[in-house]
């Protein structure tokens, strides 16, 4: 098992290198001359040259790349001009907010999509099958930023059930002491149930918005792979042997059907992390997505590069853990290795 995990870790290295090379190239492609930018409008040609030397921009590309990687490894991800903080600090303080939202949405999507997919697969052609198909097609067509606004309008403005779509917590509540950075967990640790309920209320709408979008691929894949497994010979044998329908469905079919679903999780995470940015903007969620948008609007590029890099690293890590989990779910992987 450990050797399998090691093998997966090694397999992720080319992706990591690819990610760092691409973000480096994107940094080099920045519009304008960074040296001229730092020198300011009054900077003379000599001053620009001086700064260029200081920033290492006079060196060759491979040398610059080595410096870039060294700085990244040291935790020097540049400064945010807008906030005056180091990009890495900004990102790490905001990351829990984004992660809490993303994971909550994933959880919600999984607990809705998988039963829906199973139901649709066991009753092909029924209304629930059509519902599943309809939701799947409609779900991927929803612009997340638009559904978010629509939900906010209906549930905040019209019905008044949800709090104002502004941030993670009502301004009159104070954030719980930071342990994990997830307000839901931290407030439980602090036994502050008012904060827990407040955080949950703020979380619901953005979570539903995100979940609606990723529900579709999950439900579709569950349905398709359940249908495939249910028509397999071993299911017929199991049924013919008189096993209870429930046992056949969950023990025999579902475990096998789970594998392709886990593979789609990678794609689902790509969607989630991407639309997270949009949802954060709609709900003024103080995560790394809204941080990147603010930086983009202010033409402050170091935070944007840091954001792209950290999202990519996060995504590589997520894919790696899916790969490793896959090995645990599918016993055949152990034999192959």
């Amino acid at each position: 098992m450990i050797s399998t995990i090691l093998k997966r870790l090694l397999g992720a290295i080319p992706n990591l290198i690819g990610v760092v090379v691409v973000t480096f190239l994107l940094t080099r492609a920045l519009p304008g001359d960074p040296a001229a930018f730092f020198a300011g409008a009054s900077g003379t040609a000599e001053a620009v040259e001086e700064i260029r030397k200081k920033l290492g921009l006079d060196k060759s590309l491979p040398e610059q790349f080595i410096v870039y990687v060294r700085d990244l490894a040291r935790g020097d991800w540049g400064m945010s001009h807008a906030t005056g903080q180091s990009v890495l600090t900004e990102l790490t303080t905001r990351l829990p907010a984004s992660l809490e939202l993303t994971l909550a949405a994933l959880f919600l999507a999984v607990i809705v999509a998988i039963p829906l997919g199973i139901l649709a697969a066991t009753r092909p052609g029924s209304w629930i099958d059509h519902l599943c198909r309809g939701i799947a097609t409609a779900g991927v067509s929803l612009p997340t930023f638009f559904t978010g606004l629509l939900l906010a309008y209906v549930f905040y403005f019209l019905l008044g059930w949800a709090p104002a779509p502004l941030g993670r917590l009502d301004p009159y509540l104070s954030a719980p002491a930071q342990v994990t950075g997830f307000y839901l967990i931290d407030s439980l640790i602090a036994r502050d149930f008012a904060v827990f309920v407040g955080a949950l209320k703020q979380l619901i709408l953005p979570t539903v918005t995100l979940a609606l979008f990723v529900l579709a691929p999950l439900a579709r894949m569950t349905r398709a792979s359940m249908l495939g497994v249910l028509s397999a010979d071993f299911i017929r044998t199991a049924r013919a042997s008189g096993l209870a329908p429930r046992t056949v469905l969950f023990t025999y079919a579902f475990r096998n059907a789970l594998l392709p679903v886990m593979t789609t999780l990678g794609m689902v995470f790509s969607f989630l992390l991407g639309s997270n940015v949009l949802v954060e903007k709609v709900f003024a969620w103080p995560g790394i997505g809204s941080f990147a948008i603010e930086a983009l609007v202010a033409s402050d590029y170091a935070p944007v590069q840091g954001f792209v890099l950290s999202m990519a690293l996060l995504y590589v890590l997520l894919n790696l853990s899916i790969d490793i989990a896959y090995g645990f779910v599918d016993p055949r992987m152990k034999i192959e290795n």
Binding site: T23, T137, P143, F145, F146, P165, F269, L272, Q305
Partner: protein
């Protein structure tokens, strides 16, 4: 010749009968194309002119979709935006279909180092959350519509590479290719005359499945303030402009452009599904 067409018509009728939504999607698609073509001449007002009506007035007979904070007619803006939104998506998907298709076909046909390079390129793109990569590309290249097209094209590349590669690596050993090779055709000629024409049908399906997603991505980028600049009319940016008014109850500013955007994406997705059912029924999910 007639029998072939009759047969096609029959299949078409079957697909439409099986899924009546396909017909609706096709009609909607035609409507969108028409809007993109003749939009500017049928829009009731100038999309950029302010104060054609009272600012922030709700939908009325004069302004079906209401007016925004500058008193611009939202219906006209939504109509005008069709050309820009579809244009960005078509250009991006076109670029990535041609480049990705060629790269994938080369990789699948020649294998070896070509395959490794193309595979690595596509893996590297897929190692990013795609929308985030698009943000990074636009930020790095500069905030213009052309760069939105480039960014959307780049994040779509892996899908075309994958389809073209898979198809051409199967076709390379097919009987008719073998026959053409023995007849003395050069490898490049084989690729362009025998392989690529045969990977076009699955590529077409991929295009139609991809189109809706490309529109969504482009609109998402302009929603966060990239690419299209105000006062230009574009669905994503119009939703962004209306976002601040949602919480005070002026719903029409964001609702109409958002709903039309959703309808366009939905229409392309349905169309893609039915096209796939037509070309390759086994991949139906």
């Amino acid at each position: 010749m007639t029998s072939v067409w009759q047969k096609r018509l029959q299949t078409l009728r079957y697909v439409v009968g099986e899924n009546p939504l396909s017909l609706a999607a096709f009609l909607l698609f035609a409507a969108f194309v028409l809007l993109a073509l003749v939009g500017p001449s049928i829009a009731p007002f100038d999309a950029l002119a302010s104060n054609v009506g009272a600012p922030l007035s709700p939908p009325s007979l004069a302004h079906w979709f209401g007016t925004d904070s500058l008193g611009r007619d939202i219906l006209s803006r939504v109509i005008i935006a069709t050309r820009l939104d579809l244009g960005i998506a078509v250009a991006a998907v076109g670029i990535s279909c041609i480049l990705g298709g060629l790269a994938g076909a080369f990789a699948g046909y020649f294998g070896g180092w070509t395959d490794r390079i193309v595979g690595r390129l596509s893996d590297t793109i897929m190692a990013f959350p795609l929308f985030v990569l698009a943000m990074g590309i636009v930020a790095a290249l500069g905030n213009t519509v052309a760069n939105i097209v480039i960014a959307t094209a780049v994040i779509n590349l892996p899908f075309y590479i994958r389809v073209a590669r898979a198809e051409s690596s199967v076709l390379r050993n097919a009987g008719f290719v073998e026959a053409a090779r023995l007849a003395g055709n050069s490898e490049v000629r084989l690729l362009f005359h025998h392989i690529i024409p045969n990977i076009l049908p699955p590529m077409t399906v991929q295009i139609s499945l991809n189109m809706g997603w490309a529109i969504l991505n482009a609109a998402g980028l302009s929603f966060i303030g990239l690419g299209v600049r105000p006062p230009a009319a574009e669905w994503g940016i119009m939703v962004a402009e209306g976002a601040q008014y949602i919480v005070s109850g002026e719903w029409w500013i964001a609702l109409f452009p958002g709903a039309v955007l959703m309808l366009a994406v939905f229409c392309f997705n349905l169309l893609g599904d039915s096209l796939r059912d037509l070309v390759d029924p086994r991949r139906r999910t």
